[in-house]
């Protein structure tokens, strides 16, 4: 089973990289970009076949290492 993890900055946390991207998009002539927030995408290949157990396992991975919950949120998507 594969876990797809999206890690995003919490609202209110300054994202200078997102801001730089927004600025660069404007320079390239893409108008109407209000804001850009940058995040991470992590794909994990798991032995576990039980969805509930896999979810629990990846949840712990996120809380312990993959995300820093002081500034980040995470969302887990499981695919067979």
């Amino acid at each position: 089973m594969k876990a797809r993890v999206h890690i995003t900055l919490k609202s209110g946390v300054l994202d200078p990289q997102g801001r730089a991207i927004a600025h660069a998009l404007g320079t390239l002539g893409f108008g109407g970009v209000n804001d850009v927030r940058q995040g991470k995408y992590i794909e994990i290949d798991l032995n576990e076949r039980d969805k509930a157990k896999a979810k629990q396992q990846v949840d712990q991975m996120c809380a312990k290492l993959l995300a820093n919950t002081v500034i980040e949120n995470y969302a887990i998507d499981l695919v067979d």
Binding site: P16, K64, L65, N68, V70
Partner: protein, 229 residues
Amino acid sequence: MKAAIVVFPGSNRERDAEAALTQAMGRKPIMVWHRDTELPDVNLVLVPGGFSYGDYLRCGAIAAHSPILREVKARADKGMAVIGVCNGFQIITEAGLLPGILLRNASLKFVCKNVRLKVETSQSLFTSQYEQGQVLSVPVAHHDGNYFADPKTLDELEANGQVAFRYCGPEGEFDDEHNPNGSARSIAGIFNRTKNVLGMMPHPENAVDPMQGSTDGKALFKSMVEALS
């Protein structure tokens, strides 16, 4: 005082820290490799600057979960003194020894220069040889030194006297102009609640010899030797 320095792949200030500790203690600290699982019998651990594990995932995050850091954390919880400098600050913060996190500099630029620091308290084993309010000149060299915590945590840090140093101007003033990385409330260094752990972005180990342009970091090492000998 007996001291150890934890070395990770990518650490790069461990020799500077070794020299500064040797100068203050009169003997060399023990260098401990990150794969070691046991700490020698010491009463201070220094986590040095650098780019441990290439700053992968988040700066300090991988090192924070190495076996030796687990041991450092267990001993710190029992009261052993720990100082994390620059990447070391990021590591011990990721390990949960200190609240908050260090984000990318607000300017997005790597900052390498001398900055002024205001000593917020002399009531700690790390700062006893300074005067409260003293303004120091110490270098910074980092890309991710922008201290962030939620307003409640920041209020608690201030109420408990856990702010060690702040970036300031020549008169000790706090403003955006003299904040090199966008840190919340100009915070450059903080203690844990029991004040046996200090994390700071500036490099006191690079301000211990007139050749380095400043000797203002010396009193920090002297403070630790006084308290732990």
